[in-house]
Amino acid sequence: MPMVEARGVQKYFHHLHVLRGVDLDVERGEVVVILGASGSGKTTFLRCLNHLEKIDGGRITVNGHLMGYLERDGHLVEQKERLVARQRAEIGMVFQRFNLFPHMTALENVIEAPIRVKGRDRRSALARGRELLAKVGLAEKADVYPHQLSGGQQQRVAIARALAMDPALMLFDEPTSALDPELVGEVLKAMRQLAEEGMTMIVVTHEVGFAREVAHRAVLMDAGCILEEGPPAEFFTRPQHPRTKQFLSSIL
């Protein structure tokens, strides 16, 4: 059973048809990079995967469970908020703008959800939190507030925060796009380490180097559809679709 199964996902923003039937399977331990021009629907698709956006058609299952909906007499019925929240707790998400909680220290950011959502006791959450901060190379920044950290450091705290929930799947929404160029490397390094540990990851990014070296599969989205997918080695060297060739030549 794949970790993520998306079938014919449709999404409208009012009259704008942003997702026109997206199909994507992601296996356990697989790293998938989604590429595409802005407005192609890649971020929206990622947000549908953890039900931050409701879908208007198709179905998404994560870890074998229908995401955000219940099936009743062949219809999809929206699930109770509490149950959606429980499903989201299994999926880590890293945002373009970090979205750290500014009124909490780095460590407090990391332990908040394990304590409040998972009911972990404070002491073990603190120990695990420090461990995760050390893992992303920020052990000494545990008691520092987000505004005292650089963008790259904030994004690494955000990764630690998501990992603290022991997710089965990690979603990355352009994790390096808001960073100064010199800070991109440290975030990619943390992500690469995560991939090597076997985490299932779906990454929306423009970092072709990361896609080539870390991803198992690259996917190109255009106008709300998946146009082409394949192993990075082929995807980047022998693209089939003319739109893919055009996109790759514009970013390489």
Binding site: N50, L52, E81, R82, A85, R86, R88, A89, E90, I91, G92, M93, F95, R97, N99, L100, F101, P102, H103, E112, A113, R116, V117, K118, Y145, A158, R161, A162, M165
Partner: protein, 341 residues
């Protein structure tokens, strides 16, 4: 073209680093000191001339026909009257109770106004519309008189021991309860808009990040959004508190023996109108000053997470009277001033 390598700061002459620009005090600094001294001397001289014989004293003496229009001994006497102190106590307690309840009501109304349930939004909008759109004086009279009339018509002889007559007796016969109810309801409408402004000022990404971590809406609101909104909510709430302290004077129409009514009753006996009202003003000013200092302390606490906060307690007083040119301590952009009630 060849690359130019500049010496790193540590390679440069260290003494050059130490010679920073010299900050000179400008003309305004000395002008301010001089003008302040002159102003202090003029005020002190005027006060002195009012009580001590001299040429200016003789001028006042002639102008006011041998008797000053302001009876200083009586002014002092006012501060010793027990009914005045009980009026002060009543004013203070009423203001604190009504404001606290108003904050709770406002929080509720704001959460309802941002709710996904349409009926909640409608109820909250209606509540704010009514209580912000009518004079608070009218609301006090309606609550103290109108409701007891209404309840009495439901239970004319007050015979029943039911909740209707209990409520009628409580509100109708108790000016404090009526004033408390009316002021709280009115304040809740204003506070809800302040709280709502605080909530919407928080970036949507905060709620999304909380949800992505598996938090439910109420949990994310309580742990993530509201604590951050507090910084925006506190300064205008301080304003509201001060405003409430003064608005309690309107409950005198319901017969509550608070500071203003006590003052009116006092000068009705003694005819020392100016002395009594100025003294009452001093009481109000003292109470609002206490609230201002408390507010400044709370704001400082909230800002204390930042490492660079000054811990000098006199700093608050200085800022209170002189303002602050230091933008780090400037209050967040205030809401537009609320219209006269």
């Amino acid at each position: 073209m060849s690359t130019i390598v500049r010496p790193a700061p540590s390679d440069r002459d260290p003494s050059a680093e130490l010679r920073g620009p010299v900050v000179e005090r400008d003309t305004w600094f000395y002008l301010n000191i001089a003008l302040s001294l002159v102003a202090a001397l003029v005020v002190a001289g005027l006060l002195y001339s009012l009580v001590n014989p001299g040429p200016l004293y003789r001028f006042w003496f002639r102008t006011f026909h041998h008797d000053l229009p302001f009876d200083i001994p009586y002014f002092r006497h006012f501060f010793t009257l027990p009914q005045v102190w009980s009026g002060v106590r009543l004013t203070f307690i009423l203001a604190i109770l009504a404001q606290t309840t108003g904050i709770v009501l406002g929080l509720l109304a704001a959460l309802m106004r941002t709710s996904r349930i349409a009926v909640f939004r409608a109820v909250s909008t209606l509540y704010i519309w009514v209580f912000r759109g009518t004079p608070v004086l009218l609301q006090i009279i309606i609550v103290s008189d109108g409701i007891s009339i209404l309840l009495l018509s439901m239970d004319p002889d007050l015979s029943g021991a039911g909740w209707v007559s209990h409520l009628a007796i409580l509100i109708g016969s108790n000016a404090f309860a009526a004033g408390y109810l009316a002021l709280s309801l009115n304040e809740g409408a204003y506070m809800s808009e302040i709280v709502r402004a605080g909530i919407v000022s928080i970036d949507r990404g905060q709620m999304e990040a909380a949800k992505a971590l598996g938090m439910t809406y109420p949990l994310a609101m309580r742990r993530i959004v509201l604590p951050q909104a507090l910084k925006v909510i506190i300064p205008p709430t301080g304003n509201e508190f001060i405003s409430m302290l003064k608005t309690t004077s309107l409950v005198s129409v319901a017969g509550l023996q608070e500071l203003t009514l006590v003052s009116e009753q006092t000068f009705a006996h003694s005819f020392k109108v100016l002395e009594v009202l100025v003294a009452a003003g001093v009481f109000y000013l003292a109470m609002t000053t206490v609230l201002t200092v408390v507010q400044a302390q709370i704001e400082r606490r909230l800002g204390e997470r930042r490492a660079d906060v000054r811990r000098n307690p006199f700093e608050n007083l200085r800022r209170l009277f002189l303002g602050s040119a230091d933008l780090r301590h400037a209050a967040p952009a205030a809401l537009p001033p609320k219209e006269a009630r």
